[in-house]
């Protein structure tokens, strides 16, 4: 049984949100009679209820402030006060090698990628294996999570995801005591993913988490962003988001989740284990063998900012690791 803890990344929404948005959210909260979980979560984790539960006024209020955004978000900045990246930035600059190694080519190439019907097979070392349809996944209460995404290539964005904690799904299938790791796999749709024909990578895309990492409340399965369903280039219909790790860990378009007892070998470990290790925690003190991780470029900005240890989420995840300078690439340390 998971008890939802206050994670502390919430700050009073009045500090980070334009007043009109803030007021509209209060109105929204009153009107929608939100669940206790959502109220507890407050600002950043404000539940984004299903559309029918929303009062009519909030949409116009928000769009008046954020005209560039297609959907509704509860805030215009992350908990550090850094503004959200635009919908356009998030949906046109994508690393998704199943489509293309060119970030700008992914959106046009994935335009007609079929994401329905969709099934996620959850199994392995669990008591209640289950195949989830899209409806089952959408039945989990969808929350908004504003997270920084730090790519291993040293750029970053702030993204308002929609989704639910991965732990909720894992608790449903009941991992056995033998389960130590979670292994994720991306769909291999050869007809619609031209990049799969490339022999440069050992497809399928595989990623993994240690079970305690996967159970951490920050780890979510995302189904949307900016208040709308995910677009194919962002990993539709369902993807992982682990904000304290480099972006490549947040595997897209998941079709298989397995609980296993040995550390899964990811696609990037198979490709270059010394450069993209299993843990891949964001760490300014551990450089990539070929480039520095001390700084990053926030998309939309000139100049650089310092990269934060655990991407700024140390408060919630540092306890998972023994070594404060937890190695981002070598997979053995910190186990």
């Amino acid at each position: 049984m998971l008890i939802k803890k206050r994670t502390g990344i919430e700050i009073p929404s009045s500090e980070i949100t334009p007043e009109s948005v803030y007021l509209s959210r209060r109105h929204f909260m009153r009107g929608a009679a939100l669940s206790t979980a959502a109220v507890a979560a407050g600002g950043l984790l404000a539940a984004c209820a299903s559309p029918e539960a929303e009062p009519g006024s909030s949409a116009t209020d928000v769009s008046a402030v954020q005209t560039a955004m297609p959907g509704k978000v509860s805030a215009t900045a992350d908990e550090l006060g850094d503004p959200l990246n635009s919908f356009e930035e998030i949906t046109t600059y994508n690393n998704y090698y199943e489509f293309s190694t060119n970030k700008e080519a992914v959106a046009p190439l994935s335009k007609n990628f079929p994401t329905a019907p969709w099934q996620v097979e959850v199994g392995g070392l669990v008591n209640k294996p289950k195949t989830y349809g899209l409806e089952d996944l959408m039945a989990f209460e969808q929350e908004e999570r504003i997270y920084r995404l730090r790519c291993v290539e040293a750029w970053s964005m702030v993204i308002p995801w929609l989704g639910f904690p991965l732990s909720k799904l894992l608790n449903e299938v009941e991992p056995t005591s033998a389960a130590k790791y979670v292994r994720f796999e991306t769909v291999q749709d050869r007809d619609n993913m031209p990049g799969l024909n490339s022999s440069l990578f050992p497809w399928p895309y595989v990623e993994g988490l240690r079970l305690d990492e996967a159970m951490n409340d920050l780890a979510i399965l995302s189904t949307g962003l900016y208040g709308e369903a995910l677009l194919p280039q962002n990993g539709a219909p369902i993807r992982l988001v682990v904000p304290w790790k480099y972006g490549f860990k947040s595997i897209k378009s998941i079709v298989k989740i397995d609980l296993v007892d040995t550390m899964p070998e990811s696609l990037w470990m198979k490709t270059a284990a010394n450069e993209y290790g299993f843990y891949a925690t964001v760490n300014p003190n551990v450089d990539h063998p070929r480039w520095s991780q001390a700084t990053e470029r926030r998309i939309g900005e000139f100049g650089r900012r310092e990269t934060l240890l655990f991407n700024g989420y140390g408060e919630f995840v540092a306890h998972l690791y023994d070594d404060p300078d937890f190695d981002t690439t070598q997979s053995v340390r910190g186990q």
């Binding site: 046109t92 600059y93 070929r290 520095s292 470029r297």
Partner: protein, 247 residues
């Protein structure tokens, strides 16, 4: 930077006719002063090639500026500018190193005067590349820049290539060529090392997809191969055969 950029051969080809026998470039220097239609043709070709070089070398900059001011550099313009200036410099450097192979393989001596502007334009784009790195990318933050250079092998190698290009750009004038005599040629052989460093710079920065830098490595390898004596002799022989057959 600006004086270096003054088109060096432009003055040569646009000199008044009276001076031209003295100022003639290597491509046309052997021609007699008698005004024959053929000689006029060669001079015309030289002028055309020079202009094409200047225009061709400035087009990438123009495209970049247009894309910048029309907001067409995508969501990460810094990366685009770095990439465009870097690859343009690499292409120009490779073209300046292609001059000798072109004369070996095809006997087109008209291209020899283009080597200097090609090299200088390469240096110009390297300067833009570096400026983008320290200014747009690293926001002129000294601590970040030092970390960015020292902690990143690919930047270290790129910086070395830039530093080595400086003496070559400075000594690219006729005056320096005379002053240095035989040593000038030896000094300018540094360009081989520079392009190798530039290629390593490219290979080390990409994220495990080596197709594009691989293409450049292949082209540069061919340019080096053409200079290797056995290949060079074969190319010269082949060229003579074709020329005699054409006559």
């Amino acid at each position: 930077m600006i004086p270096i950029l003054t088109p060096p051969n432009l003055s040569v080809v646009s000199e008044p006719v009276a001076k031209e026998s003295k100022q003639m470039s290597a491509a046309t220097g052997r021609e007699t002063a008698v005004s024959t239609p053929k000689r006029w043709d060669r001079k015309h070709t030289a002028r055309l090639l020079t202009w094409l070089t200047h225009i061709g070398a400035l087009v990438p900059l123009a495209v970049l500026l247009v894309e910048y001011f029309t907001n067409n550099l995508g969501v990460d313009p810094v990366r685009e500018i770095l990439f465009h200036t870097g690859t343009t410099a690499l292409v120009l450097l490779a073209m300046s190193l292609a001059v000798t192979p072109v004369t070996i393989a095809f006997g087109w001596k008209q291209v020899i005067p283009l080597r200097r502007p090609l090299g200088l334009y390469a240096f110009f784009y390297v300067c833009l590349h570096l400026l983008t790195f320290v200014w747009l990318d690293y926001g002129l933050d000294l601590a970040f820049i030092i970390d960015g250079i020292v902690e990143q092998p690919f930047v270290l190698v790129g910086t070395a290539a830039f530093l080595l290009l400086i003496p070559l750009a400075i000594t690219s004038t006729k005056g320096w060529q005379k002053r240095l005599g035989k040593r000038w040629k030896t000094l300018h052989k540094l360009s081989y090392l520079i392009i190798i460093l530039a290629l390593i710079h490219f290979i080390w920065l990409v994220k495990n997809v080596y197709i594009e830098p691989g293409i450049y490595v292949g082209i540069v390898a061919l340019l080096f191969l053409a200079r290797w004596n056995p290949v060079k002799q074969k190319l010269l022989r082949w060229q003579r055969q074709i020329r005699s057959r054409l006559k």
